[in-house]
């Protein structure tokens, strides 16, 4: 298959020295095959939204997907069933979704990118853009386990209007090369974002993340908590930018990353940035990089866990957490499949059994629909 190189993927709003090699990532992707002249079904207002990956990557996804799916949640309504983006990574699927949450509406969007990686290496992608109108509530759960050998691009762009709230849980659990972009525009006053991002990277896998939150509205609130475990010769780059834009009086932004490094050849890069062009704001960032803290180790040892077992607990915790927060069957199956690969079948299904979680697969869901 012909390939093309995408450069300038996951570029943060403010860059640093080039020699640090943290400003972007380049990806080898299949050359786009024309899907004909089917026009995108997404309204034009989605076309200018950021999603963290960068314009070139977005163009590649849009062209590769060929068409987009559009969902509108009417004013004041709640979608009980999550809006699901089920990406079969082994088949190199590419999905493009636009969601418009009207005023006071509420919905959950789930992205489950899953694969085994046992066949020829494939490149999959998902692009999700959501407009959250005044007072609406959006929850997004992304579970990415695309299989060893596979590559995946994930872009999520959100625009949040007055008094809306956005809650995101992002789990990057497996895959040879993953580029994850996220851009949230807290445009309206009182809009809020809570982002919990978890990652697990082992072997020689690469994970590249770019989180961008622009706080433009007054009294907006952003809390980002990123936690991860790096093993073997994993390579991870995390760029996390909170941009407190002029006029965002009373805005508060916090970002914190805790990464556990458990491999001699791990490459771990983090670029936490707070941009500030307003006086009356508060921005904090912190990072804890290294091993489990001595206090935590002492506590866990007091419960019978050696340092090695404590590290394994953190891996299990990330996978259990993904299963616990998977809101429907496909994403739960995705989390459990990865847990099986990392922890073995017995432990993987233990949490699901104990907590009464019941996995299904997409075929079951289609059959029941």
């Amino acid at each position: 298959m012909a390939a093309q190189t995408l450069t300038g993927v996951n570029v943060p709003p403010a860059q640093t020295w080039n020699y640090l090699r943290i400003n972007d990532i380049s990806l080898e992707l299949p050359t786009v095959v024309s899907k004909g002249t089917v026009p995108s079904r997404l309204p034009r207002l989605f076309s200018q939204m950021e999603c963290g990956l960068g314009k070139e990557a977005v163009s590649w996804i849009e062209a590769s997907a060929g068409d987009a799916r559009y969902v509108e949640v009417p004013r004041g309504t709640t979608f009980e069933e999550p809006i699901l983006v089920d990406v079969a990574s082994d088949g190199g699927e590419v999905h493009d979704l636009g969601v418009l949450l009207r005023e006071g509406a509420s919905a959950t969007v789930v992205v489950a990118a899953r694969g085994t990686g046992t066949g020829a290496a494939a490149s999959s992608a998902a692009l999700v853009r959501v407009i959250v109108e005044r007072g609406a509530h959006l929850k997004v759960v992304e579970i990415l386990s695309v299989g060893d050998g596979n590559q995946h691009l994930e872009g999520l762009g959100i625009q949040a209007d007055d008094d809306s709230s956005v809650e995101i849980r992002q789990y990057a659990l497996g895959g040879a090369r993953r580029a994850v972009g996220l851009a949230v525009d807290l445009a309206g006053k009182g809009a809020s974002l809570r982002l919990d991002s978890r990652y697990l990277v082992g072997g020689h896998d690469l994970l590249d993340i770019n989180h961008v939150v622009r706080q433009r509205g007054r009294n907006t609130r952003c809390d980002i908590v990123t936690q991860g475990l790096l093993e073997d010769a994993a390579h991870k780059t995390l760029r996390e930018t909170i941009d407190l834009v002029h006029g965002a009086k009373g805005a508060k932004g916090n970002e914190v990353e805790t990464v556990l490094v458990a491999g001699d050849e791990v490459v771990n890069k983090t670029l936490p940035v707070i941009l500030c062009d307003e006086d009356d704001v508060a921005g904090n960032h912190g990072a804890s990089i290294g091993s489990v803290s001595p206090e935590q180790l002492a506590y866990l040892a007091g419960r019978g866990l050696s340092e090695d077992e404590a590290t394994k607990l953190f891996a299990r915790a990330i996978l259990d957490d993904a299963a616990i927060h998977a809101p429907e069957g496909v994403s739960l199956a995705c989390a459990l499949e990865r847990a099986e690969q990392v922890l073995g079948a017995e432990i993987a299904h233990d949490a699901a059994d104990t907590l009464g979680l019941e996995p299904t697969n997409s075929e079951d869901e289609e059959a029941s629909a």
Partner: protein, 254 residues
């Protein structure tokens, strides 16, 4: 005295740059309840952590024998598996680890507690009920965002799950309101009734002892055990304070 479970002889310990405990001798029999009291900064919590094997402290002399084994040089995880449990005064937050994953892991690694997911869930449900704990706690991160009372209940939950031979309760009652204290006391009572384990209760507050039958009381001042006696010693301290023991601590130091 019952069969000796814990025997501490001539123990001195401290941090890298500060000696804290001096020549401690203490024996706890299987199934006994001991109370350790003393003024603030006496070294009571340090003794609890040293018995547990906390690597922040170094033993400079003496020995700790537990259940017939010299554990002085043993790491904390081995001591835990052998049956020692320390309930923390300020339980540590472990972000990113759901309580469920933690509890399940620490139980499954003990052959005597290994069980199926269904039975584990039933056990958790039973104990949670005893402690007025909502099972939704299981999916929350370990001790993260919990109130002081909730953290202590989680410590009690672990105590009842792990069924240790010796439980050291380090000021488990501190910072608890009346209702939370009643729940924690119920937890301790349940531990005594169900597990018949030994207790070393470190406390300032005699209310937590009201529902316990205390076998021995010890007083620590300035890192030394300066008095030992029956349960009536607790009432004396309650009425008169530590004043008369502080002189003994100074004398021993001199």
């Amino acid at each position: 005295m019952a069969d000796q479970l814990l025997s501490i002889s001539g123990l001195s310990a401290g941090t890298e740059d500060k000696p804290i405990l001096h020549d401690i001798n203490l024996s706890v029999g299987a199934g006994e309840t001991h109370v350790l009291m003393g003024p603030n900064g006496a070294g009571k919590s340090t003794l609890g952590h040293v018995i547990m094997g906390d690597a922040s402290y170094q033993v400079t002399s003496g020995s700790i024998v537990f259940d017939g084994q010299d554990v002085t040089a043993q790491a904390a995880d081995r001591r835990s598996l052998a049956g020692i449990f320390l309930s923390y005064q300020a339980p540590v937050e472990v972000p990113g680890v759901p309580l469920y994953s933690f509890l399940r892991t620490i139980c499954q690694m003990r052959p005597e507690l290994k069980t199926s997911a269904r039975k584990f869930r039933e056990r958790i449900a039973r104990i949670s009920d005893q402690l007025d704990l909502d099972e939704s706690f299981l999916t929350r991160e370990l001790n993260v965002g919990f109130s002081g009372g909730e953290k202590k209940k989680i410590e009690m939950l672990q105590l009842l799950l792990l069924r240790p031979k010796l439980a050291i309760l380090d000021e488990t009652d501190s910072g608890l309101d009346v209702d939370a204290l009643a729940v924690v006391s119920r937890g301790i009572e349940a531990y005594r009734a169900d597990c018949d384990g030994a207790l070393l209760v470190i406390t300032h507050n005699t209310r937590i002892l009201e529902r316990l039958s205390v076998d021995h009381a010890h007083v620590m001042v300035k890192g030394r055990l300066v008095a030992e006696g029956p349960a009536s010693l607790i009432d004396e301290i309650d009425a008169q304070g530590f004043g008369r023991f502080e002189g003994a601590g100074e004398k021993a130091e001199a």
